[in-house]
């Protein structure tokens, strides 16, 4: 190997400092979320699901940071820890306030957390399950404003109308119920609600995964537009690389609770360093019938994080695995400035990328 492995936290700090000079909006350091596995009548803890295991990354202001990987890799758990829907087992989550004051989200008391929630919002994957069917659009979108005593009466009405307009919905539909809307329109409603309190940071957990391909494009464009207009920063979760490509500035690829590769989107697509990244790129269906249909398919499933494989977690599925991969765990190492990969052979392998 040609590069010296460094510990994940060192490299993350390094990549931050080579950035804009301003502190990032969000820094996640050595985040761990280990769910206890309980068995038997006494509910004794017999092991842990290491859903997130030592994850470190930072999100620069005004950018979209992507988390990508197959189901079960720990993306949603990471997102939920960041906004404290889950209390992490260990690690730091540092958010920079508008006055540049750093706040440790993992240590906030309930009252401070409530105030914090104005800055940070989440949008979920399933636009059918995440909207209360018994509330009108006005109630759904206006709820955060009412709960936080920001607005009421005519002002509330006006603000909801404006929010609906912003996400491309007609304010005339304010008194309708969510069932009258398609998947894409519901995701617009979710976004309008998320924007109600003027957040600075949005965790978007697979916001387009449940939508028709043709509707995905509309929502991705909207997310981009909102970023420009409101100076938003996003943590964007997806399992599909083509979606990541159109929206993210930088990306972390996750596998069994760990980051296996992290860099800018352009670099990740042009020169992937981890075989798992290459496999995710290969898996995207290509809308061209003249292309050869028979290609390498990543076999098997994501291992259970309660009982991960030895050595490199990816070795049972990796096309390039050697003996050392079965026994030695590769570190997350910086191979070129700002490009990290967790593979023994990252420097040697010539993986297939693409020009974007």
């Amino acid at each position: 190997m040609t590069t010296t492995p460094t510990s994940p936290s060192d490299t993350a700090v390094a990549s931050v400092e080579s950035g804009s000079g301003q502190s990032p909006l969000l820094e996640v350091r050595n985040l761990k979320m280990h769910f206890p596995i309980r068995k038997g009548f006494l509910k004794r803890v017999v092991g842990h699901v290491k859903a997130v295991d030592d994850v470190t990354f930072s999100v620069e202001r005004g950018t979209v940071f992507g988390l990508v990987g197959e189901s079960g890799c720990g993306k949603s758990t990471t997102g939920r820890c960041v906004i404290r829907l889950l209390k992490a087992t260990a690690g730091e989550i540092v958010y920079t306030m508008p006055d540049d004051e750093p706040v440790h989200i993992e240590a906030l008391d309930p009252e401070s957390l409530r105030i914090m929630r104005r800055h940070i919002q989440i949008v979920f994957q399933d636009p059918y399950a995440s909207l209360n069917p018994r509330l009108t659009l006005k109630q759904i979108v206006g709820e955060p404003l009412v709960i936080n005593n920001v607005s009421q009466g005519q002002d509330l009405q006006d603000r909801v109308a404006e929010l609906l307009r912003r996400v491309g919905l007609s304010p005339e539909h304010m008194n309708r119920y969510p069932h009258a809307f398609s998947g894409g329109q519901r995701q617009r409603i979710s976004l309008a609600r998320a924007l109600a309190l003027n957040p600075r940071f949005i965790v978007a957990d697979e916001p387009v995964s449940a939508l028709d391909v043709s509707v995905q494009a509309q929502i991705l464009n909207l997310i981009k537009d909102l970023r420009e207009e409101f100076g938003l920063t996003y943590l964007f979760i997806a399992h599909n690389m083509s979606v990541i490509k159109h929206i993210c500035d930088s990306v972390a690829v996750m596998y069994v609770g760990q980051i296996v590769e992290m860099t800018t989107t352009r670099q990740l697509f042009r020169k992937p360093l981890h075989p798992y990244t290459e496999a995710l790129l290969e898996a995207i269906p290509v809308p061209d019938p003249r292309r050869d249909r028979h290609r390498i398919v990543l076999e098997g499933d994501v291992p259970n994080p309660a009982d991960p494989p030895s050595g490199c977690y990816f070795h049972p599925r990796c096309a390039y695995a050697q003996d050392v991969c079965r026994t030695e765990t590769p570190p997350l190492a910086e191979h070129t400035p700002g490009h990290l990969a967790r593979c023994h052979f990252a420097a040697e392998l010539e993986l297939k990328g693409m020009t974007i």
Binding site: L220, L281, P285, R290, M354
Partner: protein, 343 residues
């Protein structure tokens, strides 16, 4: 493989309506397509355009509130020398003949394998049930067939899977089990209704590769339903594009992608987020969204979203499906005069 194109299924002018508390839902209002033996036909369109209802009609399994009000589905069944045309839509859904076709000729797999597998029974139990229904075999033979069918869908450790409950399997493994069950009766035609839509892209690639292998091996005909043209390009020989209950274009796969004629097909193609285009390009979209089937636009139902809309024509007259080439039908006023006119 197939020397001459031989039709296996014809769907003609199919109209299916649902009677609900809030009125009549005109789910299908003119579905036409033809499937040749040994081919994979993609049926594409956005959610709500009637893909699943079309599949239900072919299986003659329309839910009780629904009625086929016009049109037909004709299945060409092989007998020793030639084929018999069976009008599926004329058979009572519960008739013996229909049950035989559903069991021995046409099988179906669905989007969400979890809801179509019974959580209370092992995979083995459910496979054995399917096998015993269609084949006259004793217990040992049936078990051997079941394990073999799991092996055939490339499940590792088929014996272990045989003894597993559905929740012990991953989404991809469950979909493989569904395929094994569907194939246990050696169907001539397989209808796959969005079989990969609920899966990760990696698992989707696995299932598509499996289905291609099985199709190469058995030469079965497949109707592959999806909203994703990327998946269509990977799987299909022919494509029927649906919009709001109508087929608006049918042609071969290459023409669909390289010279599509219907403005809706063209718009669908432009809206795919592609891996190989410029990262900074703004994604193109189809304006608006699919209207509710209770408020179908006049004339051409795509007209409010159509970039090629011709004022004075498209909003008044409904286009018919016209043949513009040997294997190419389009429902659009841009391609010639149409006889029908809507009041």
């Amino acid at each position: 493989m197939a020397d001459r194109a031989e039709t296996i299924l014809e769907v003609r002018n199919l109209h299916t309506h649902f009677h609900t508390e809030s009125g009549v839902v005109r789910a299908l209002e003119g579905v036409d397509f033809t499937l040749n033996r040994g081919q994979v036909l993609g049926v594409v369109g956005e959610s709500g355009c009637g893909k699943s209802v079309t599949a239900q009609c072919i299986m003659n399994m329309v839910p009780s509130r629904g009625r086929i009000v016009d049109g037909s589905v004709i299945y060409h069944q092989r007998n020793g020398q030639g084929t018999d045309a069976v009008e599926i839509t004329a058979l009572p859904p519960k008739s013996r003949e229909m049950r035989r076709i559903r069991g021995n000729e046409i099988a179906m797999i669905f989007q969400e394998p979890m809801t179509s597998l019974d959580p209370l029974y092992t995979v083995g139990n459910q496979l054995l049930e399917a096998i015993n229904l269609h084949q006259d075999v004793d217990r040992t033979e049936a078990r051997a067939l079941a394990v073999h069918s799991l092996d055939r869908v490339q499940l590792p450790e088929p014996e272990r899977v045989f003894a597993s409950y559905p929740h012990q399997l991953s989404g991809g493994q469950r979909q493989r089990v569904m395929i094994a069950i569907a194939l246990s009766c050696n169907p001539t035609l397989l209808i796959a209704d969005e079989p990969t839509t609920a899966l990760d892209v990696t698992t989707q690639a696995q299932i598509l590769s499996l289905m291609r292998d099985l199709q190469d091996e058995t030469h079965m005909s497949i109707i592959f339903i999806t909203h994703d043209l990327g998946v269509v390009a990977e799987m299909c020989d022919e494509v029927a594009v649906m919009y709001l209950g109508k087929v608006v274009e049918q042609t071969d796969i290459d023409t669909t992608f390289y010279s599509p004629r219907h403005p809706y097909t063209q718009a669908l193609l432009r809206s795919i987020p592609r891996l190989d285009d410029d990262q900074d390009r703004r994604l193109e979209v189809i304006a608006g969204s699919v209207p509710d089937p209770s408020s179908i636009p006049s004339g051409c139902r795509f007209h409010p979203r159509c970039p090629d809309f011709m004022t004075g024509v498209c909003e008044h007259r409904e286009p018919t499906l016209i043949q513009i080439d040997e294997d190419h039908q389009v429902r659009c006023h841009l391609y010639g005069e149409t006889a029908s006119s809507q009041p």
